[in-house]
Every structure is written in structure tokens, then in C-alpha cells.
């Protein structure tokens, strides 16, 4: 598969990981075996790290709280921010860790069942990590769009069933 086709395959899988090998092959006008081999290669090389569903958790009644935490870090000699980031992402409560430009350094997303749980995690675990200078916590109130998928509309077909 050409680099362009590989890229197209990744974009299509990212948009819909449920597409079957046969469907992907038909959409890209290539052989199924080719798609299967390329996906295996992308998985083996660690480019594809996993597959997941996009879920509107707000529709589920279970308790679930997300905190977006701005973390300021004093970068360490030799390893910069990576060593601190690694210490943070080991915790299973931590869902995302990204290094960002601007007034803080690491953006960390933490999940828990209750606000107190997330607050305690921040004050007891995150804030106490060496070289972490400060944290600011924002609790998520409502999610409108996730990774390209809009969550707050019901979509629905607006078109006439048959038109010329």
C-alpha cells in the first residue's frame, strides 16, 4: 500500500473502527488481503494502539466525573518534562496527558466517580509529585464534541425519501 493509501486507511479507521476489512477494501478499491496486511503491520509497529467506541457518557446515569487539570512543572535537566509526565500517566485515574504550550505545561484529564475523588487525587497524588509547581482543576460540566464527533444533536434524516 502506498503511503497515501496507508494514511487514508488510518483516517478511515479513526473515523470508524468498526468498518470491516471487506468494506475498507471496497471503499479504497484495493484487495482485502492488502488491507488486512497493512492493518497488521500498523498494529505491530505501534502506530495503531487500539480501537475504542465514542460514547456519550452524559446519557448514562452512572456517576462519572472528569477533571481537566492544568499542571505547571519545573522541567528537569536532561529529561525535560517527560519524567514528570511519566510519573503522572502511570495512575489509572489519568486518562490523557499532553504537553502544551502556553501558561501551563501539562494538561491532564482525570476521571473518577465523584468530585471528591478527583479532588483528592489532585491534591494527594498530582500536586505532591516532585517538580510539579502548581495545579488548576476544571471539572467538566457537559461534553459537546469528542474527537470530531458531535454529541449534543440527534442527527436524523432531513431529506425526502426520494428526489430527482
Amino acid at each position: 500500500m502506498s503511503p497515501t493509501q496507508r494514511h487514508e486507511l488510518l483516517v478511515r479507521l479513526h473515523d470508524d473502527a468498526k468498518l470491516s476489512i471487506t468494506t475498507l477494501a471496497a471503499m479504497m478499491d484495493v484487495d482485502s488481503a492488502d488491507v488486512e496486511a497493512t492493518i497488521a503491520e500498523l498494529e505491530a509497529s505501534g502506530i495503531i494502539r487500539g480501537y475504542c467506541a465514542v460514547i456519550n457518557w452524559d446519557r448514562i446515569e452512572r456517576d462519572r466525573v472528569r477533571g481537566i487539570i492544568e499542571v505547571k512543572v519545573a522541567p528537569q535537566r536532561e529529561v525535560g518534562f517527560d519524567a514528570v509526565a511519566r510519573r503522572i500517566y502511570q495512575y489509572p485515574e489519568v486518562k490523557d496527558v499532553t504537553l502544551v504550550s502556553g501558561s501551563y505545561d501539562l494538561q491532564v484529564i482525570v476521571e473518577g466517580q465523584r468530585i471528591q475523588e478527583v479532588a483528592r487525587f489532585v491534591s494527594e497524588r498530582l500536586a505532591t509529585i516532585e517538580h510539579v509547581q502548581s495545579t488548576t482543576t476544571h471539572f467538566v460540566l457537559k461534553t459537546y464534541k469528542v474527537d470530531g464527533v458531535v454529541l449534543d444533536d440527534d442527527g436524523g434524516e432531513q431529506r425526502l425519501v426520494i428526489s430527482p
Partner: protein, 389 residues
Amino acid sequence: MNALRNRLAPLARSLPPSGIRRFFDMASTMKDVISLGVGEPDFVTPWHIRESGLHALERGVTSYTANAGIFELRQAIARYLDGYGTVYHPETEILVTVGGSEAIDLAIRVLAGPGDEVLIAEPAYVSYRPLVHLSGATPVSVPLRPENGFRLDAKDVRARITPRTKALILCNPNNPTGSVLNRAQLESIAQAVRDADIFVVVDEIYAELTYGQSHVSLPSLPGMQERTVLIGGLSKAYAMTGWRLGYAAAPDFILHAMLTVHQYTILCAPAAAQVAGIEALAHGGPAVLAMVAEYDARRHLITRGLNELGLSCALPQGAFYAFPDIRSTGLSSEQFAEELLVHGRVAVVPGNVFGDQGEGFVRCSYATSIGQIEQALERTRMMLSAGRD
């Protein structure tokens, strides 16, 4: 009541209802139907275009515009057409219309009348024939032949030219067949048209939706702009069908006549839609490319699927329609479409509604999601295998 009905104008009474209507009525009453019968994009208009329409309303752009359309939009259309090798003057040669449909109507009205014959390359968009009929002229079918990939052959045009022939209407890229005419084919058609000294109405509403080849605009060929009415619009490329925004580009003497009719009947296209159209033409390119890439993948999926079902289908080169051959089922187009609707819960459009040459084929729109296409194919497979038992 009946007595009054009989007093309607004979021309109106003689106009046959669209063949699509019956299927629409049937499908509308049924639940859980997957529709491959829709002749418009499944995407909503890109947000930046919708936003500019909203902004126009906020600013109070709610009055009539110039009859021919907002000048800035006509300039944007002229720049767009320039990209296809034609030079149109926005002051005198471009008219903004309520969809491509109005432009087709105006073109036929000003070019043809009683006693004239108008050639229509068929299968064709459903409005050409009735509009010719309404003009008082006689529609004459020029067949697009399946063995020729439904591409118009200049020989077929020449064979139907008479002293009464006034114009040729064709759609390229084609609705319903998905075929596209290349430069050489267009040149031979252009030669036939010039030799016969007739007008052409070319409907290029699907110009942006071609796959793996760039669109050749008929009036860009030598000696053609002076006798051609080019029909275009933003509906298909920019997913703007409901905004009702189309245009005609033609030599000033034709356009002036069209504008006069437009002034009396329509006055102007919707103002906010025109503002949105300016935004679409200025910045809509990337969104169009993304939609075309999506149609491209779906076109491969549906064509492969139909062929695997034993319904022979050429890979469409343009628009968003596959036009499979269903003659192997032994059913007529209407029978097939009805069976598929009633027993498979899939709506397609029988090919014969686009003209007799479409008999034996059905139009399947792939302007719908991958999931819907796959389900429709699966339902078709079940319907076909049940039929074989």
C-alpha cells in the same frame, strides 16, 4: 368539481406526473426504508457557509437583490467558471437563479417554442422533457446507449437533426447514469452542434463531482460559448440543495432574454442564500474536496457490492449515482424497484423515469452513509436470493 378541473389549461392537464412521484408516495408510507433514491448530498452545508448565511440575516440582508443576483456573487461565479477555461462577463452574461432548475426552465423558454424540436440526451434529469413540453416545443430523445457507457455519441445527435431542431440538452456529469464525457467526446458533439447550427443547454451541476478526471466544460470548446447556455449551481458540490441557488451563464443576447423572464417570474434568488453562496465559492474548496473523497470511497463500495450481487454496474465517473443493469433479474425497472421497496425495504429509482433508454436499469444514489449502503446491499442480496428460491 370535475367540470372545473376540465377547464384547467390544456397544457397543464397534458403534463404527465413525474414517474418518481409514485415511488415517493409508496416509500413515504413505509417504515424502516433505506433510501438510495435521494438526489442530493447527505452532508449538511459546511458550517462556514451556513454561518455566513446567518450573519447575512443578522445584518438584515432581507430585501430584494439585483434581478441578476448580487454582483459580488456573479463575479465569484465568473471567477469560478474562468477556472474551466470560459470567460463570462458578470454584468451581462451571468444570472443567479433559484436552483439550477429555474435556469433550465428559463433556458428552454427563451430558446424553444411551438414548431421547434429540442433534442434531449436520455436517460436525463426528469425536468427537461416536461419543460420542453411546456414551452410548446417537441422533445426528441437522443439515446445514451448502455453499450457506450451511457455517453452521448455525436452520431446519434446528427441522426436526429432536422430543419426544426433548435437545441440540444445534455447533462454532464450525468444524472442518472454517473457517466462523464471526456474532451474528445465533447469535441465531436460540439462539431455536430456547430454543423447543425443549433443551441446547447448543458447542465453541469455535478461539475465538481468527478473522480480521477477533471471536468471539461462544454462552452470552453472552440465556437461553443456563443451558442451554449451553461447551467450550474451550488446545490450538489457544496451540499446546498435547500438554499435554492443556481445560475446560468450564456452569451448576453440569450442571458438578457432569460433575465427578462426571471424578472417577471422570480425577481431574484433569496438574498441570504446569495451571501452564503459568495462564501461557498470563496472558501468552500477544501470542504468540497473532502466530500468528493467520501463519495469516491462510497462509489467503489456500492459498485463492487452491486457487481457481486450479479447486477452489472459500471464504475460511475461523476455525480453520486450508480446505474446498475437489472435485466438479468428478468424484471422491468419498475418491477425491480417495487419488489426491492416492498420486500427489501430499499428505495431506488427505476431507470425508465429518466427516459425510455433507462429501462432495464435503476438509479442508486450513494449520497448516503457507508453503513446504509452496506445494509441496502445486504437487503438487496436477500431480496434477490428469495426471488431465486
